[in-house]
């Protein structure tokens, strides 16, 4: 009689629905400052793509120039990354998606990269409703050049040197809503729960997702008098709704109160559940969303949450009526017309 020794099973590493581990979504070691909000955002992005079970090779990470734009190096190394030039990521991202509309795209920008040098391209990206996630890691200050104000710095905000900002902040969310983005929200790098839910919903949405994420700069803008500091955010963050996300591979039978919660079915069948915390909140109404943002400015509140969602508007790649396959890899026969076509054109010019 033989005995089969019972060997304890080594613990199986946790995997997502496509069998990958969280390690498969990690990036390089960050070179940003310890405590930088951007690092927390990179963590949330890593988790969101892992949890949603997106194949990393199907993702393009786009960025411009600045601290924020370096961060794609710190998440998802198995994804294709393009760190372009200052303020011009939107055009590069547009070209890349035209070449291959079957890819997912996430762009990481900063407040300088978007609201100053990149303003022109930013608004046109929103206007086209290009199917990508556009994140502004917003700290109101230029980090790599050592602490100058950016255009999202609030009026009255103070630099370390004592300089007061006397120009109004550009509200990138209001702008994105006006310009045509179809999923617009604001979050805080320190609000793990909200940011995670918003990122997962962003992955499920097809169209331009614009997320302005307040991400404090611990070196140049985290002091008393700054409106983009951890402390200020902890005191002034005002969620318009509690953001819940139920993915298309989860049980969606969870009950919710229809009076207090807005349910939005996203393109992949996932559900965004927004429990109202604000009386006037209606994320499907552009004008009301704008109004909320304007009122918040007057009240010196930092509204967070999903402000606007539109799942009906066609995205830019749909509008161009392209063939189903990526343009990048169409066979020569499909892109070079025949000899007969040339002969026909030549005859017309004779």
């Amino acid at each position: 009689m033989s005995t089969t020794p019972v060997t304890p099973q080594p613990p199986q590493p946790k995997t997502n629905r496509i069998g990958l581990q969280i390690l498969d979504y990690r990036g390089g070691k960050t070179t940003l400052c310890a405590g930088c909000g951007h690092n927390a955002i990179s963590e949330r992005i890593t988790e969101a793509f892992y949890e949603m079970g997106v194949q990393p090779e199907r993702v393009m990470k786009m960025s411009g120039i600045g601290c924020s734009s370096k961060s794609p190096a710190y998440f998802m190394s198995r994804s294709f990354s393009f760190n372009s030039v200052h303020g011009r990521m939107p055009s590069v991202a547009t070209g890349a998606l035209l070449a291959n509309k079957t890819m997912r795209s996430i762009g990481i920008s900063g407040d300088g990269d978007t609201a100053s040098i990149g303003m022109g391209q930013f608004v046109h990206l929103m206007r086209r409703n290009l199917p990508m996630i556009y994140i502004i890691e917003d700290n109101g200050v230029y980090g790599l050049t050592k602490g100058q104000f950016s255009a999202t710095a609030d009026i009255g905000s103070k630099l370390k040197s004592g300089v007061i900002n006397d120009l109004p902040a550009i509200d990138t969310c209001a702008l994105a809503i006006q310009m045509g983005a179809t999923f617009v929200g604001r979050s805080f790098s320190g609000d793990k729960k909200q940011l995670s839910a918003m990122l997962k919903a962003a992955i499920a949405h097809k169209g331009t997702v614009m997320l302005d994420v307040i991400s404090p700069c611990v070196t140049f803008n985290d002091h008393e008098g700054s409106t983009k500091s951890y402390k200020f955010m902890q005191g002034h963050e005002e969620p318009v709704a509690e953001v819940g996300f139920v993915s298309n591979f989860e049980d969606i039978a969870v009950e919710y109160d229809h009076d207090t919660t807005v349910d939005v079915q996203l393109h992949d069948g996932s559900h965004l559940r927004l429990r109202k915390l604000h009386e006037d909140y209606d994320p499907t109404d552009k004008a009301r969303a704008m109004n909320l943002l304007m009122e918040a400015h007057a009240n010196e509140e930092v509204l967070t949450g999903v402000f606007y969602v539109n799942t009906q508007k066609p995205d830019f790649t749909e509008m161009l009526n392209m063939v189903d396959e990526p343009l990048a890899t169409l066979s020569p026969e499909r892109v070079r017309p025949s000899r007969e076509v040339l002969a026909e054109i030549m005859a017309e010019h004779g």
């Binding site: 090779e57 990354s81 393009f82 070209g95 070449a99 890819m103 161009l320 392209m322 990048a328």
Partner: protein
């Protein structure tokens, strides 16, 4: 493309009835109109009718930067010898613009003819011209055209008058009008009645007194007439372009506008979907950004622009060079600096593009000299961009791009589409690791992967910052230097791939001429003038690409003096040559420059070279 193969078989013989010595198939017609008056169709009919009679022609539009109201001139050169460069002397004037009429008349050579609106009363201005007053308004009204389109119909009346006076075959005029208005039968009939009204009036009321006539030849059989921008558009389509971005700018807009038409016609698949994307960008910065994004993700991408757009593209051009991303940029050059003369021609972007962007940047340029080469180089540019993994600039100009040129029909591209060194998932599986910027083959061209390639090793980090062979960020001095040295070697590899120059002449002359682009046509005529008038034989080399190949060095070495003909003020090509050539050769170079915004003419070249060579006429 060498000297025009337009051997005149039988010189047309003429028997002048009026006793005037006829000038057959060798003169220029200038039509002076107001911008926006719709004269384009009429001018085109005139040009193409003469062309279809077998007589070589060239058509040039001299137009203002304006939508409507300012003067514009269209010149048709009729040349039995096949010379199609601009000719400065005008022989027959069709004066339709009251504002410029006096001045237009004064610019004619002695013996010239003037067809004009009789209300302008031009016949007292000069005694040495022949005047043909025509009641245009009355004739236009006689066609029954509604008042609001009479302005357009008037143009067709001058076609009829000119046809009668210059002996242009009405059969061809009719066929040309019908072809031009193929889809609008009613418009064709109305225009034809206007042509006939003009023709009949001239036959009954005007007496031919000038010497200029057109007689049938057989020198244009099988040829086409087309402009360079349309040719480039066609070339891009046959190259298999998939992503096109643009920001409208004269004189390049029609490259993309024509391309849109062609793609809609020939690149929509049976299910109605497009095998392409065309995007009008918010500015040239975005246009080139999209080109590079698309090129990076694997599309054949392009944009078309002109000088001011090139200035804006400088930053991205450097990224394309350093991150090694394919893309094609058509620069249809106009005059600078700044906004310059937006509707006039130039070859003034050469040195700027050669090193476009900051740092040590170098770009490959293709320089077409004919409409046929606009087509061929457009096709070739996409192969080169992907083979070399770098932006390729195609430098055309307004004269080539927007004017009408005769050409042999274009040939179907026999070269297969070459996508360059791209690794797929299977190849990655067989390799032990992938390093994006490693010189594996010794030609300094690395391998790349496309986003979406399904292999864990496929991804890499594209950046404009310092990078090592594995595309990782680095500030190490040796990494930086090695990469820059490899890029320099890649530029050497480019020399083996770009179109070689074309040499004409036996190579035995003391005097050589170097030219490029649209100057070609004036140069070949100029060489003929130098030979006939001054007994000065020349050899000629036409540059077709940058970086320069060995043939150019050899050509300069073989000659005692080399004239570099170019359409800019600062001898840009000569200066680029200076950098490349041995100092002993540099001293042989001399400049022949033409930069007033008008296309270069043969006489401007001949005069300078003859004077410097001490050749007497």
């Amino acid at each position: 493309m060498t000297t025009p193969e337009l051997v005149v078989q039988d010189q047309p013989t003429s028997s002048p009835a009026s006793g005037i010595q006829q000038v057959v198939n060798d003169f220029s017609i200038q039509i002076a109109t107001v911008n926006g008056s719709g004269s384009q169709s009429a001018n085109s009919v005139l040009l193409r009718s003469i062309f279809r009679m077998g007589v070589p022609v060239g058509g040039k539009n001299l137009f203002p930067s304006n939508i409507a109201g300012l003067p514009t001139w269209y010149t048709i050169r009729v040349s039995k010898n096949g010379w199609v460069a601009r000719k400065t002397d005008i022989d027959v004037l069709i004066a339709m613009n009251a504002e410029t009429a006096q001045q237009d008349v004064l610019s004619l050579g002695a013996g010239g003819a003037v067809i004009y609106d009789q209300s302008l009363k031009l016949d007292h201005s000069r005694a040495d011209l022949t005047y043909y007053p025509v009641p245009f308004d009355q004739l236009a009204a006689s066609t029954g055209a509604e008042a609001k389109i009479r302005k357009l119909v008037k143009n067709m009346v001058y076609v009829g008058v000119a046809a009668q006076l210059l002996s242009i075959d009405m059969e061809w005029v009719e066929k040309t009008v019908r072809k031009q208005f193929a889809k609008k039968v009613k418009a064709a009939e109305l225009n034809l009645s206007a042509v006939r009204a003009g023709f009949d009036y001239a036959a009954s009321s005007l007496t031919k007194q000038d010497p200029y006539v057109v007689e049938p030849m057989s020198a244009t059989q099988g040829k086409i007439i087309i402009d360079g921008n349309e040719s480039a558009a066609m070339g891009a389509m046959f190259a298999g372009v998939t992503v096109v971005t643009w920001y409208p700018i004269t004189p390049s807009s029609s490259v993309v506008e024509d391309l849109i038409e062609y793609m809609k016609e020939y690149r929509i698949e049976p299910d109605g979907k497009a095998s392409f994307a065309i995007v009008q960008a918010e500015d040239e910065l975005a246009a080139i950004g999209m080109v590079l994004g698309a090129g990076w993700a694997g599309a054949r991408s392009m944009t078309a622009t002109s000088g001011p757009g090139i200035s804006l593209m400088a930053e991205f051009a450097g990224l394309g060079y350093y991150a090694e991303i394919p893309g094609v940029i058509f620069d249809v050059q106009r005059t600078g600096p700044s906004t310059g003369l937006p509707t006039r021609t130039s070859q003034g972007d050469l040195t700027f593009i050669a090193g476009l962007s900051h740092g040590d940047t170098k770009h490959v340029m293709l320089i077409p000299g004919s409409v046929k080469e606009c087509f061929e180089f457009a096709t070739e540019a996409f192969n080169l961009a992907e083979q070399l993994q770098t932006p390729i600039f195609v430098l055309s100009d307004l004269d080539l791009g927007m004017n009408n040129w005769m050409s042999e029909p274009f040939e179907y591209p026999e070269k297969p589409i070459d996508r360059g060194k791209v690794l797929d998932a299977q190849q990655l599986k067989e390799l032990s690791g992938f390093a994006r910027y490693k010189d594996v083959d010794g030609d300094a061209i690395p391998y790349r992967t496309l986003p979406g390639t399904d292999h864990p090793d496929a991804a890499y980090f594209t950046r404009g910052t310092g990078h090592n062979e594995k595309a990782q960020y680095t500030e190490r001095p040796d990494d930086y230097e090695n990469n820059m040295q490899r890029l320099a070697r890649k530029f050497e590899t480019a020399k083996t791939l770009v179109p070689k120059p074309i040499v004409e002449g036996k190579g035995r002359q003391k005097v050589g001429i170097i030219a490029f682009g649209s100057s070609h046509w004036a140069v070949i005529e100029g060489r003929d003038q130098l030979e006939r008038e001054s007994k000065l034989g020349t050899d000629y080399l036409r540059i077709r690409a940058y970086p320069f190949t060995q043939e150019i060095h050899d050509f300069v070495a073989q000659h005692e003096r080399v004239y570099v003909v170019e359409q800019n003020r600062d001898s840009q090509m000569l200066n680029l040559l200076k950098v490349d050539l041995d100092p002993a050769q540099v001293v042989k170079l001399r400049s022949v420059l033409h930069f007033n915004g008008l296309p270069i003419d043969a006489r401007s070249i001949t005069t300078v070279i003859a004077a410097q060579e001490g050749a007497v006429k």
